[in-house]
């Protein structure tokens, strides 16, 4: 494929570099499909603009998000303050950037927690079956008996509206969904012959679980990551909006909307902007998740 016709020896030009091997691999197939889907690519790009902006907020914000400018309270967007100011004269652009940092951190941390909890329980539940499966499934059902926001609300109500409690609440809320997916995937893999083969050659249960079941269950779990992240971001925003999440003065996209809501008559931009930030971010994550799901769907593989 990459044969260099001017090479000195027949072996020289035929080296396949890392790049060639990548594009022919499974991940490469995935990458090719994502690149071909322009919408997903756009979402990818925007997302990778948003996330670094949030991470780098302390360095790229024009002002300190807590600094009050007494001469410029509730100002509409201007050259001095690109997104306007809030009721205490704080620059909204800086607050939205820092808020993004807080909101995204919570969203990702909660997702990690949901997966750390959900995947092991789900896979073990599906693979082992029996009483273990019953117990884990009942607990999971009990958690799913609560509408998502309600569960997070109750956890935060009990333990107090601190940021780490929000992460825990969101993690607990999302873990059962992850566990369900992991369990279903494990059940599917369990029935396959290669597991039987592995057991025949004496592979230990742990090795089977880790090396075979888990790895081959990744596809639906990867898609679930995007769903979980977007749900956690939205619920964190809702919690903060209700005053039960991140507390002011720490900015979070949700509590910025809450503060903006109280000034909705006079200062439209205040409530609109953080909401737009949430909207764009979650849209990107959802679009990427859709693209991933389409790309990983085995039924479509080989039809292109």
């Amino acid at each position: 494929m990459n044969a260099d016709v001017n090479a000195e020896s027949p072996f020289e030009g035929a080296q396949e570099g890392f790049k060639d091997r990548f594009w022919q691999s499974q991940s490469g197939e995935l990458a090719k499909r994502i690149v071909a889907n322009r919408v997903a690519l756009g979402a990818f790009v925007v997302f990778f603009v948003i996330v670094p902006s949030a991470i780098l907020a302390p360095w790229i914000s024009p002002y300190d998000p807590y600094e009050m400018h007494h001469d410029a309270m509730l100002q509409p967007p201007s050259t001095r303050f690109p997104l306007g100011t809030d009721e205490l004269g704080r620059d909204l652009l800086s607050r939205v950037l820092h808020g993004g940092r807080v909101s995204l951190t919570i969203g990702f941390a909660a997702t990690i927690m949901a997966f750390v909890l959900g995947v092991p329980f789900g896979i073990i539940s599906g693979y082992v079956g029996g009483v273990v499966d019953d117990v884990i499934s009942r607990v999971s059902d009990a958690l799913l008996a609560f509408p998502p926001l309600l569960l997070a609300l109750v956890v935060v109500a009990v333990f107090g509206p601190k940021e780490h409690n929000v992460v825990i609440a969101l993690g607990i809320m999302s873990a059962p969904h992850v566990a369900r997916i992991a369990r279903a995937a494990a059940l599917v893999e369990k029935g396959k012959d290669y597991i039987l083969a592995a057991m025949c050659i004496g592979a230990s249960s742990w090795r089977i679980l880790w090396r075979h079941v888990l790895l081959n269950s990744m596809a639906p779990l990867i898609v679930q990551v995007s769903l979980t992240v977007s749900l956690c971001i939205l619920i964190e925003a809702a919690l903060s909006f209700l005053g039960l999440g991140v507390q002011p003065p720490t900015p979070s996209w949700g509590n910025l909307v809450q503060l903006g809501y109280s000034f909705v008559n006079r200062a439209m931009w205040y409530a609109v902007t953080p909401g737009v930030a949430i909207f764009i971010t979650v849209t990107c994550i959802n679009l990427m998740g859709d693209a991933l799901r389409d790309a990983l769907d085995p039924r479509l593989r080989g039809s292109r």
């Binding site: 009990a142 809702a238 809501y261 909705v264 959802n286």
Partner: protein, 316 residues
């Protein structure tokens, strides 16, 4: 069918038990002494009153005894009294329920009016212009924070155009017209929020059904496209769709906290946030229990309905 229902009910029992334990732990997980939390600053320097209260509320007994007392009372319909004003919890909840039910039903009807046609058109003619419009709507609807959408609509219709009142509520039996005017914005917001996933689900459900062999058979038999769609594709695609509708309705009946809060619509969701803010833990415990039970039973009904409509499920 009956055996399926029995099986599902059997599965529910431990779940109900776990849910009640979870809810019961709410007060007892809060850091601090429950009596002091409930009594607040009134009990600061009166230890004898604290002890009396503790005995009266049965808090000096072991946890499992307290749990049993609470659960037996709850099963008989006695959910205790609100810490705030000593009103029976059941009465407070019954006052709030009609608002939530009204909002839930109207929103669901509006959502179905949009989601069913949209989902069908989108699913039957994928990649057409209409499909693309629907897909954009779906993506936007699922990515927007509900409360923000509510605020945007409020900004446009209540603040700028002044066509509708921004927040408020009047019971429907008192002033129906005003009630409906207050209802428009929250119901529209909710309708958009739930219509998006429903449309997407119907679309993908139709696309899946379209690949089935029996559709090819139907066409091969020479049936008109309309009959193929309505009699065969749609009928089967609607089954999973109905379960999604049921689940969304369950969520709505459980009280959509944020929308009710934004629009000052005093339903169950609003009640829960209010009780959290006021630290009214006895009311919180009972309302959370009720909401969880409603949600759980709605899910059960949806499962049974699905089994009824799709015989294959019953034999799993």
């Amino acid at each position: 069918m009956a055996s399926y229902i029995v099986r599902r009910l059997q599965q529910m029992v431990p779940v109900l038990f776990l849910v009640s334990i979870l809810v019961f732990s709410i007060i007892h997980l809060i850091p601090g002494d429950p009596v002091l939390i409930m009594g607040g600053s009134l009990l600061q320097n009166r230890p004898e009153v604290v002890e009396q209260l503790r005995h009266q509320l049965g808090l000096d007994q072991p946890l499992y005894v307290q749990y049993l007392q609470w659960i037996t009372k709850a099963l008989r319909g006695d959910l205790g009294v609100s810490m705030w004003n000593q009103e029976p919890v059941t009465k407070i909840i019954l006052q709030r329920l009609p608002a939530t039910i009204e909002l839930a039903l109207v929103s669901m009807l509006m959502a179905l009016a949009v989601a069913i046609p949209g989902g069908i058109i989108s699913g039957v003619r994928p990649n057409s212009l209409l499909d693309r419009v629907v897909t954009v709507f779906v993506t936007m609807g699922m990515s927007m924070p509900g409360f923000w959408l509510g605020i945007m609509l409020m900004l446009l219709f209540a603040v700028r155009l002044k066509w509708l009142p921004p927040v408020g509520y009047v019971p429907i039996n008192q002033e129906p017209v005003r009630n409906l005017r207050y209802l428009v914005l929250p119901a529209t917001t909710l309708a958009i929020v739930i219509a998006a996933p429903m449309m997407r689900f119907l679309r993908s459900s139709l696309l899946e059904v379209a690949r089935m062999d029996y559709i090819t058979t139907a066409r091969a038999k020479g049936l008109s496209e309309r009959i193929v769609i309505v009699r065969h594709a749609l009928k089967n695609a609607l089954i999973p769709f109905i379960t999604v509708v049921g689940l969304e309705l369950a969520g709505l009946l459980a009280g959509v906290v944020v929308i009710e809060w934004v629009f000052g619509w005093p339903g169950m969701g609003w009640l829960i946030v209010d009780t959290i803010n006021r630290r009214n833990y006895s009311l919180l415990q009972s309302s959370v229990l009720l909401v969880a039970l409603v949600f759980l039973f709605m899910n059960l009904i949806v499962d049974i309905l699905y089994a009824f409509l799709d015989p294959r499920i019953r034999y799993e």
